[in-house]
């Protein structure tokens, strides 16, 4: 702790504060040790590990099929993507071909999940800053998505929808119609969010030019997903390392443009997500149009035993690049499962960005990075 005599000759020292582990703005059990000089932060060290559930170790003890429901728990807000990463890794190891309808079902479910996850990100962002009303508006729409998910796969949060070789249940035509109806209802709502929150002068003043992450920093600290794109880097796994049926779909990758301040500030990170909501809607509409007929799942042995080998699969989750490194030794159980998530690297940059910003802006920074505590620790 630094000690110095101030200009008045009085003894001054830094104050050490604990933000968390239980704090309304940390979205889970997450702790920061903050050293402050008055309101200005000198240092903020994130302390992770409170939510470690050893999901990677469980993978070594479960069968290949039995591990899929566990991956749901890696990121509870975007369970579908965690499913997809593991299933794709297992398919690549076992040489399983997913039928086209299965791929489309996957993309529909995933993009719906992305909308739900971004709604939470946007809603809680507002709530952390002090705007509670938009949070309720966002959650209302998310409930509709949960209802759709319930119809598609029978669960509202831990979906376990994807199987190795396809999806668990086919999406019925009536459900497709309901998804289309939801999109018709939802797209104007995004405009409402803009009027409610994005264009609000207080909100803009609170976020513009706050906690700016430059392009170089973002690349050096390995930020992924919307956080990276907000800093002006055009990088989306869906487009750049295509998987599933994304090459057949037409969508844009929104990039932060410094709309209300500097490129890469908190506002950009917020607004990239708003624009991604609309892009996801576009992808969903195309998928609903293009849905081919046929089976939704390939025939996979119940005792799935992929040949020995290893693979690394990358997918674009709402919190960025999610990677699954899976090693098989040819047995009924995976030999090793390693999950790489976007929130973990997002945490590491807080250390770099926080010196010199206000305590209240730290909250804006955490919220804008959209970190998700269960995903950090796994």
């Amino acid at each position: 702790m630094s000690e110095a005599a101030g200009s008045t000759g009085l003894h001054t020292e830094d104050m050490t504060l604990n933000v968390g582990p239980q704090h309304p703005s940390t979205h889970g059990v997450l702790r920061f040790v903050v050293k402050t000089d008055g309101e200005v932060i000198n240092e903020a060290i994130p302390d992770v590990g409170y939510l470690h559930r050893s999901i990677e170790k469980i993978g070594e003890k479960c069968t290949w099929h039995g591990y899929v429901p566990y991956t749901d728990r890696a990121d509870y807000l975007a369970a579908m993507f965690a499913n997809q990463g593991f299933c794709m890794a297992a398919e690549r190891l076992g040489g399983v071909e997913v039928p086209p309808r299965g791929e489309y079902c996957r993309v529909i479910a995933c993009e719906l999940n992305r909308v739900a996850s971004h709604l939470i990100a946007v809603g809680t962002f507002g709530q952390d800053i002090g705007a509670i009303t938009p949070f309720l508006h966002a959650l209302r729409e998310r409930e509709s998505i949960n209802d759709l998910m319930e119809e598609i796969c029978g669960a509202r949060l831990t979906y376990n929808y994807l199987r190795i070789g396809g999806v668990g249940y086919d999406i019925k035509p009536e459900t497709c119609a309901r998804i289309a109806a939801f999109l018709d209802h939802f797209e104007p709502i995004v405009d409402e969010y803009n009027r409610l929150l994005s264009n609000n002068k207080i909100f803009i003043e609170r976020l513009a030019d706050v906690a700016v992450i430059s392009k170089e920093d973002a690349l050096q600290y390995n930020l992924v997903g919307p956080n990276l794109r907000a800093s002006g880097v055009q990088w989306d796994i869906r487009r750049d390392i295509p998987y599933s049926v994304y090459p057949e779909l037409d969508f844009e990758v929104p990039v932060g443009r410094g709309e209300r301040g500097t490129q890469g500030d908190s506002y950009d990170r917020y607004y990239v997500r708003i624009r991604e909501l609309l892009e996801s809607c576009r992808i969903l509409r195309q998928c609903l149009d293009k849905m081919p007929e046929g089976p939704a799942v390939a025939k996979v042995a119940r005792k799935f035993k992929p040949p020995a080998g290893e693979t690394y699969v990358r997918i674009e989750a709402p919190r960025g690049d999610m990677g699954y490194y899976v090693v098989s030794d040819g047995s009924e159980y995976p030999y090793r499962v390693r999950i790489r998530t976007g929130s973990f690297t997002a945490m590491s940059i807080i250390d770099k960005i926080s010196p010199g910003i206000m305590v209240a802006d730290l909250i804006a920074l955490i919220a804008s990075l959209d970190v998700d505590a269960p995903e950090i620790d796994r």
Binding site: T63, E143, E150, C153, G154, R195, L196, K201, P295
Partner: protein, 179 residues
């Protein structure tokens, strides 16, 4: 001078954007409410409104369970316990135990997919609160019952036909992934 103008411009922008937001909030006074007063003032039981695929608390129809143990084996957390013994009198195999621990169950739905007759099913029931965790272990065998053996050429008893039908329909609608 320009600073003064910016100052008042900011105030004007702030106030107008607040009212912009307020107008949306007020418009909700005339829209259909999106909340219900649960659980007192609901038109219909929630259980009745849930989709068919909803994965609620598990139930087992012991009359059409063949005792193949597929569900027990596929369960990732071993929440299903099955006991089978050979009955000395009838020389048949009997169930002595079929317990599902609802506390442990994570509602993944892998067991119902593995079931060949559709006897283990997710219901629409989700309210399972009770005072003692032991009450959440569902016992489906109270006295020893013989295993179900599908008859060649189909069932003859009406009761059994219905039960087999329900299982089949459940498998077609939900558990069978192929379209």
């Amino acid at each position: 001078m320009s600073e003064v103008i910016t100052y008042f411009q900011n105030i004007k922008d702030t106030v107008s954007s607040i009212f912009e937001g307020m107008s949306i909030t007020f418009s909700h006074f005339v829209r259909k409410p999106s909340t219900v007063q649960y659980p007192d003032r609901i038109a219909q039981q929630v259980q009745d409104t849930l989709p068919l695929r909803y994965r609620g608390i598990l139930e087992v129809d012991m009359d059409i369970c063949t005792g193949c143990l597929a569900c027990e084996r596929v369960c990732p957390i071993n929440c299903i316990a099955i006991g089978i013994e050979r009955n000395a009198e009838t020389n048949q195999r009997d169930f002595t135990l079929f317990d599902i621990d609802i506390c442990k169950c994570m509602y993944c739905g892998l067991c119902m997919e593995a079931c060949p007759t559709g006897s283990i099913r997710h219901t629409q029931e989700f309210e399972g609160a009770c005072n003692n965790p032991a009450g959440l272990v569902r016992h489906f065998v109270t006295e020893n019952v013989p295993l179900y053996k599908p008859k060649k050429g189909g069932e003859t008893e009406t009761r059994m036909i219905q039960k087999v039908d329900i299982g089949k329909r459940y498998m077609d609608e939900i558990a069978e992934p192929e379209s």
